[in-house]
């Protein structure tokens, strides 16, 4: 029967991946060039308040008469960098602790993994809220809170990788050749551990953007008048009947997270074709 299964055509550059890259690319562009992409200042009152979408203001104006489109485009300048910072710092901390934990084992491993277990015992949003509230409102503190929530994920992943790679032959050969322990970890184990961690990190960017927006939405992230998507939706909730106030930022979050999810999905299919 096996010979009857025709070889599956492998489309690496699938449609979802292209769409995902295009959408994320657009928001990357907005991050860099938001001021050039819109005629309006995101903080200035440029029209009468709560105007519905028009040719002048494509996404309408908010309760203070600010242009929603301008604010939405400028929002990328907060959300994307924060997501990148959160994920990179979390990967740096998590991967380091995870690698040390898996490589050394024993009491060090125990201590680090118990910390991971405890941190992962909290529903992520609740922990992020508690940390952010303790540190006080503000995007910086929200960033710290998200790192605290996110690093254990990478610690676990990295530890599992190190444990697996450690058993491979070339590592045993290096040990037999008398290489020092740090050298074995850095030269022989770690280079083979990064791929799954980086894939997972890419896929997490979207989720971090969502979490950041959620924190801002409940007032623990960005503070007014920062054009951050979550707090803009919070403004929109206050102006419930002027639907356009929340529409722009909501669409922004949806598209960028969807973009990252499309990319992550394609990566997942590529590296794990069984699920196809």
């Amino acid at each position: 029967m096996a010979t009857l299964l025709l070889a599956r055509r492998h489309t690496w550059l699938s449609l979802p991946l292209i769409v995902g890259l295009a959408v994320v690319g657009f928001w990357l562009l907005a991050t860099l060039l938001a001021p050039q992409m819109t005629a309006f200042d995101p903080l200035d009152m440029v029209a009468r308040r709560l105007q519905p979408p028009s040719w002048q203001h494509w996404l309408g104006t908010d309760a203070l008469g600010r242009d929603v489109l301008a604010r939405t485009l400028h929002g990328a300048r907060h959300s994307l960098p924060i997501a990148v910072v959160v994920v990179s710092v979390a990967v740096a901390i998590g991967a380091m602790l995870g690698a040390v934990s898996g490589f050394l084992g024993g009491q060090v491993d125990n201590a680090i993994m118990r910390l991971v277990d405890i941190t992962l015992s909290f529903p992520p949003m609740l922990l992020a809220m508690a940390v952010a509230a303790s540190l006080g409102p503000g995007l910086g503190n929200a960033t710290i809170a998200m790192v605290i929530v996110w690093w254990p994920v990478y610690a676990r992943l990295m530890r599992a990788q190190v444990l697996e790679v450690r058993e491979r032959e070339h590592v045993e050969a290096a040990v037999a050749a008398g290489a020092s322990r740090p050298r074995i970890l850095l030269k022989h184990i770690l280079p083979l551990c990064w791929t799954p961690v980086l894939i997972s990190a890419t896929m997490d960017l979207g989720q971090v953007i969502l979490l950041a927006a959620s924190l801002s939405f409940i007032g623990l992230g960005a503070t007014p008048p920062t054009p951050e998507w979550g707090s803009m939706i919070s403004d929109g909730a206050a102006q419930f009947y002027s639907w356009w106030v929340a529409f722009g930022p909501g669409l922004a979050i949806l598209t960028i997270v969807l973009g990252f999810n499309f990319i992550g999905d394609a990566l997942h299919d590529h590296f794990d074709p069984r699920s196809k």
Binding site: L210, I233, V257
Partner: protein
């Protein structure tokens, strides 16, 4: 197997203590001054009032002392008094937990039903329009911010179309049934008031869909993958060779074989639902733990925030434990690490 369960149960108290400690540590790193929440700004310059407030809330003790007091109080169920409601946090949470549970369970049912149905269809009609739709549905579910989705469905279905009720658990004009379980649907049934029961169910639809969408997506992806695997197995051919119809082959033979991993992912989705409930409740004015947590966080009401975080952590821990144990019990051949 028994040893595994005992080991897991044995670890529980340590994990709970870990949660408590971590939660307590959070209160010590605080930069925001909780005093501003209890003492009006004009009186902050009055040392007498500030000192009195500090003494009342135990803010002037040393850290280790506060920790010991805190853990001791927790053991007796005392989580302190909320700065905002001025009621014991434990009592606040106890009163609000049922509303959250009702919403989370409804969302879980919605998510599991849609997710399993879509997953089965996607696997059976693999690589067709149905499959692509299921995939998009799942991706959208994990991409839409629930607070925005909540606003959108309220605006569309309640305001514009007027076919769905607005926020809240029930129509305020209806008589409130006596609070026995604090699950509104159950209380309404206990009181024999079907109008309230139907109204409560009606109010559950929008928030549980908003909350359940992402879970439905996750479940459908997992069910699809498992169904694909099972549908390719030989016993499916046997069932067809026996003369079984396709519906029977899919539901009785294939789906039943994916039940254990499906139940497991439903169990683990609890964490997501608790997280999502925080935001969904805020949008739908749902009087549960989530909206309590949000108002506590906004008002820097530390006893309340910490209380909710601890309870959330413990609930999360227990559901994961139950899921893990159920998985092992249902699957005696699983190799335990």
């Amino acid at each position: 197997m028994t040893r595994y369960i005992i080991r897991r149960l044995f670890a529980m108290p340590f994990l709970v203590l870990g949660i408590v400690t971590l939660a307590f540590l959070l209160t010590t790193v605080t930069k925001g001054d909780p005093l501003t929440a209890i003492v009006s700004e004009r009186q902050m310059n009055n040392p007498e009032i500030v000192a009195a407030a500090k003494a009342r809330w135990g803010l002037d003790r040393s850290l280790p002392e506060r920790y010991v007091i805190y853990v001791g109080n927790l053991l007796t169920g005392d989580m302190g008094t909320s700065f905002i409601t001025r009621r014991p946090v434990g009592q606040d949470i106890l009163f609000r937990l049922p509303a959250t549970m009702e919403l989370v369970i409804a969302a879980m049912l919605v998510g599991a039903t849609i997710g399993i149905a879509l997953g089965v269809l996607a696997a059976y009609y693999r690589n067709t329009a149905t499959d692509h739709f299921a995939r998009l549905f799942a991706l959208f579910g994990s991409s839409i911010p629930v607070f925005w989705l909540g606003l959108a469905v309220l605006f569309i279905f309640s305001v514009k179309l007027g076919i769905m009720p607005g926020p809240g658990r029930m129509d305020a004009r209806l008589p409130q049934p006596p609070e026995i379980t604090r699950f509104l649907t159950i209380d309404a049934l206990l009181a024999g008031d079907f109008r309230v029961f139907i109204d409560a169910l009606w109010h559950l639809i929008l928030p549980s869909f908003v909350l359940g969408w992402a879970v439905a997506g996750t479940i459908s992806r997992l069910v699809r993958a498992n169904m694909l695997e099972v549908l390719g197995r030989e016993f499916i051919l046997t069932a067809r060779a026996k003369g079984a119809g396709e519906l029977r082959v899919v539901l009785r033979h294939a789906l039943r074989n994916t039940l254990v991993p499906t139940l497991t992912v439903i169990g683990y989705s609890f964490a997501y639902l608790l997280t999502g409930a925080v935001l969904t409740e805020t949008i739908f004015s749902w009087p549960g733990m989530g909206s309590y947590a949000v108002s506590a966080a906004r008002g820097l009401d530390f006893p309340a925030i910490i209380g909710v975080t601890i309870v959330g952590g413990v609930v999360f821990l227990v559901t994961n434990l139950v899921t893990d144990i159920a998985y092992v019990v249902a699957n005696p051949r699983v190799r335990l690490g």
